[in-house]
């Protein structure tokens, strides 16, 4: 017993390799903190970064003394909370069904979950306008005909409508964040419940749900901030109806029709996001401090086993079909429709007579090889870099005893809380100022770096949840054999969190693929990527052409997801 206690104390003492990892984590922090500091400084100045300006509170005065800001805050919170409700209505049951049960075609559901993100959000917004607009919405017209109504029963031009669509769109990232936790869950706890005569639903609520609280909470907090930061749905559906949230207000501050961007004012609005992010990080720390409660992977009898659904199988399949119809099938059909018509119109006999492939034939005019090559490099490097840094940070936060490690986790969350446009402006400014030391201005490297840093928050949320579930005794066993921390990380930790690592990598790759705000801000003739091409087509009013490019990209990237998943499964199984 004394020997074991001695060993445990030894484990708590930082060792040289632990210092190495901590140093790497510190460098990562610097990469995050510098741009964030630049934004904070900009919020106390007028004009563009680098322009002479005295320190001032003017931006804060303009932002916070206007009653409009408090209305925006209210809208933002309602929108974000509504979005979270929709996300968790779909994501938690879907994660349990797909990862813990014997649902048929599991691989198909997993692939579909990764496909939703491939449809550009602005096209999903147009799809929902065509479906649920009070004037031309196909579903509304259907309801009106069926029920004999004179006015449309549903409208998406309100906070509930915005939350509904945004919630559908953000369900897959929530799924991937919590799926790993369900997958690695020790079934002995469920089996104990079943042996005691507890039903499947009750077991789900009282065992599965409870044991995955850290992963679920991490996803809630991450997606709450995401919901506050996302622009496209609030911009396309909310703003036209004068429902403003912080992301739209920041957008209009940075994209005025006349004059120059007001980065300082946007920075002042951004401080609200930072405060919310710190508050949510604090909540999150409180949970992960109790992390020992959620350990489900120990050195004894770890053997994930699937639950037999029996007669509930059909209900589970219908539930998944319902979600994918709303998030993928209907929007994708609309995307295909939009790509085949000369201009956006509601399906009709006349519209069918005008169907054409002309938009597809024009696609080569809009692209070329360079954006394709750049996108491939971006997709392979940014998520790899991001997930590597995330693993280092998560390991330090969850596993080490280094003082201030929870602060490290808060720092890792920062890039997510900072609006993308401001983050990119800050990076761009730093690249200009320090170009003699780091010649990355205007290169693809700066876009890779921006994405890698931005998505560290996603990577760490995913990996924290997975690491928490692994008992320390497995690493202690490694320590007893004299292995270094790096070896323990490589031989014990990584294989156990391989699914989370892969899901995190794949999802960051997809987020990077569709990320457009930072890519547009950092653009030069040398670093154009496909997401900016699609955005530019849409921004120029070429919606059918953008849809045609979107359809092609969905097929290409669907193949990428299928191949990546197969390779990922082989690699994780071999670890």
């Amino acid at each position: 017993m004394r020997a074991l206690a001695l060993k445990f104390r030894e484990f708590e003492t930082p060792r040289p390799s632990q210092f190495g990892i901590a140093a790497l984590a510190a460098v990562t922090c610097l990469l995050i903190i510098l741009p964030v500091l630049t934004i904070i400084i900009a919020s106390f100045r007028i004009g563009l970064p680098g322009e002479a300006s005295p320190s001032t509170l003017e931006n804060y005065r303009e932002a916070f003394l206007d009653p409009f800001t408090w209305q925006v805050l209210k809208n933002t919170l309602f929108f974000a909370l509504g979005t979270i409700v929709v996300i968790f209505f779909f994501a938690v049951p879907a994660a349990w069904i797909i990862e813990r049960t014997d649902i048929p075609c599991r691989r198909l559901w997993l692939t579909l979950m990764g496909l939703g993100i491939l449809i550009p959000t602005f096209l999903k917004a147009i799809a929902w306008i065509l479906l649920l607009s009070p004037r031309i919405g196909i579903l509304n017209k259907l309801f009106m005909d069926m029920l004999g109504l004179e006015t449309a029963p549903v409208s998406i031009y309100n906070i509930a409508g915005m939350s509904f669509i945004q919630g559908l769109i953000l369900t897959p990232p929530a799924f991937f964040m919590i799926a790993a936790a369900y997958k690695s869950m020790d079934p002995s706890l469920e089996e104990a419940a079943y042996v005691s005569g507890v039903g499947r639903l009750k077991t789900f609520f009282f065992i599965n749900l409870r044991l995955t609280i850290p992963a679920i909470l991490a996803a809630i907090l991450y997606l709450f901030i995401t919901s506050i930061e996302v622009f496209e749905i609030p911009g396309l559906i909310g703003a036209p109806a004068r429902i403003f949230v912080f992301s739209t207000v920041i957008y209009y501050a940075t994209h005025p029709e006349v004059g120059l961007p007001k980065y300082g004012l946007a920075g002042a609005y951004g401080m609200i996001l930072l405060i919310l992010a710190f508050a949510s990080s604090y909540l999150y720390f409180r949970v992960i401090r109790q992390s020992h409660k959620y350990v489900v992977v120990t050195g004894k009898g770890y053997r994930p086993k699937l639950i037999e659904l029996g007669g509930l199988k059909i209900v589970a399949v219908l539930f998944l079909l319902f979600y994918f119809t709303l998030d993928i099938f209907l929007p994708f059909l609309t995307l295909v429709w939009a790509s085949l018509v000369p201009y956006i119109q509601v399906p009709s006999a006349e519209a069918f007579s005008k169907l054409t492939l002309a938009n597809f034939l024009k696609v080569p005019d809009y692209s070329g090889w360079k954006p394709i090559v750049n996108t491939i490099i971006l997709l392979l490097t940014a998520p790899t870099f991001s997930i590597f840094l995330s693993l280092i940070i998560s390991w330090v936060v969850i596993r080490s005893q280094i003082k201030g490690r929870y602060l490290l986790d808060g720092i890792a969350f920062l890039p997510h809380a900072v609006p993308s446009i401001l983050f990119a402006v800050a990076l761009s400014y730093m690249a200009l100022v320090y170009r003699q030391f780091f010649p990355v201005y205007g290169t693809l490297t700066i876009i890779i770096l921006a994405n890698a840093i931005k998505y560290i928050s996603f990577g760490t949320r995913t990996l924290n949840g997975a690491l928490i579930q692994i008992h320390r005794e497995l690493e202690e066993a490694g320590q007893v054999t004299g292995a270094t921390n790096l070896r323990i990380l490589r031989k014990i930790v990584i294989p156990l969190v391989a699914t989370a690592l892969f899901n995190g990598w794949l999802w960051i790759a997809l987020l990077t693929f569709r990320e457009v705000t930072m890519a547009l801000t950092l653009i030069s003739p040398r670093n154009v990527v496909l997401s900016t091409l699609v955005w530019n087509l849409w921004g120029a009013g070429y919606v059918p052409e953008a849809a045609a490019m979107g359809v092609i990209l969905v097929f290409v990237l669907a193949s990428f997801v299928v191949v990546a998943r197969k390779v990922g499964e082989k690699v994780t199984a071999s670890l």
Partner: protein
């Protein structure tokens, strides 16, 4: 009210005076031949222009230029959807003494003042080198060329608006029958420019009444599909390239042509100081104003110059009452008025 050369009532006579003069052949030692030789050494040009031009359009422009001047320049085109972001980038680069990313940029007359005021633009002897360039196209003391004009006016869905109901004046948009059926673009500079004709009080009243119509607001390209699809009947302020694009696709969309005055926004090309390929940039700017260049700008961007004879814009402006933005007004009042009108209509 300062109108200076900005306000044009009868445009026809002005246009006739600036009829196209063909570009002369470059003689050895002439400024043009030196420019061509300089461009040949530079080998490429970095151009940031409107996304509507598309990479194919930019390449077509380069191919035609190469053919005309016997060059083999490479075009690096960057499509823009935000001019303000470009302005910020140019200013940041200049302040940190970084060579500009772009040799030549196309922006609107509303944006160029930010660069001109900071003395970031390079001047060039356009008239001495390119006699074909209409004098009205040379702006800001040789620092910029006006390549095309964009016309702003109401547009409507031809299936939802009967011919007798098509707005004939700006005030017709305020008819209660359009309440809840109108779209309005976020580009408030159109209303700001109308103050040059109406005065600030009348324009402000107009904006309050427009706000009472509860228009659905959005970016110019974002509201166009909603007009095409029939979700809304009218756009209060739409730009000609988008309407021309819809007409080409045979969408049920048309201009409200009787509305006066039609507000004009100018697209200008300019080069910042210390660019890497100044000769190629100047050639590209000048080439855009000859008929071959204008043809490409129309084919891909649905925009041309009203100062170049026989272009679609030249034909369009015949007999029309136009309202240009006075440069002094643009620099001093446009931003402030645009913000005010944005707030009135509910845009923040």
């Amino acid at each position: 009210m300062k109108l200076k050369a900005g306000l044009v009532l009868v445009f026809l006579s002005l246009i006739t005076a600036s009829s196209y003069l063909p570009g002369h052949a470059a003689t050895a030692g002439s400024p043009l031949s030196r420019l061509i030789e300089g461009a040949r050494q530079e080998k490429e040009v970095d151009f940031a222009g409107p996304a509507s031009l598309t990479p194919a359009g930019a390449q077509a422009l380069m191919d035609a230029l190469n053919k005309k001047y016997g060059l083999n320049l490479k075009m690096n085109f960057t499509a823009l959807t935000s001019y303000t972001r470009l302005m910020a980038q140019i200013i940041a680069e200049a302040q940190s003494a970084q060579p500009p990313t772009f040799d030549v940029v196309l922006v609107t007359d509303a944006h160029i003042a930010s660069l001109y005021g900071r003395k970031l633009l390079q001047s060039f002897d356009w008239a001495g080198t390119f006699p074909h360039i209409p004098s009205q196209s040379i702006l800001l003391e040789n620092h910029a060329l006006m390549i095309d004009a964009i016309f702003a006016m109401p547009a409507y869905n031809t299936r939802l608006v009967r011919p007798q109901d098509v707005p004939k004046t700006w005030e017709d948009i305020l008819d209660p029958k359009w309440q809840g059926k109108v779209l309005a673009a976020t580009g408030m500079q159109i209303w700001a420019r109308l103050t040059q004709r109406w005065g600030e009080q009348k324009t402000e009243d107009f904006m309050r009444r427009l706000a009472a119509q509860k228009p659905v607001i959005g970016g110019y390209p974002q509201i166009q599909p909603r007009l095409e699809s029939g979700e809304y009947a009218l756009i209060a302020n739409q730009l000609s390239p988008l309407i021309a694009g819809s007409e080409e696709k045979k969408a049920p969309v048309a201009y409200a042509l009787e509305v006066k005055p039609i507000v004009v926004l100018l697209d200008v090309m300019t080069q910042v100081k210390n660019v890497r390929h100044p000769n190629a940039a100047a050639l590209l700017m000048a080439f855009s104003l000859i008929p071959e260049g204008q043809e490409i700008w129309w084919k891909y961007g649905k925009r041309t110059s009203p100062f170049v004879k026989d272009t679609p814009a030249w034909k369009f402006v015949q007999g029309k009452e136009l309202l240009f933005g006075d440069m002094d007004f643009l620099q001093k009042r446009e931003e402030e008025l645009s913000e005010l009108y944005g707030k009135i209509i509910g845009l923040r």
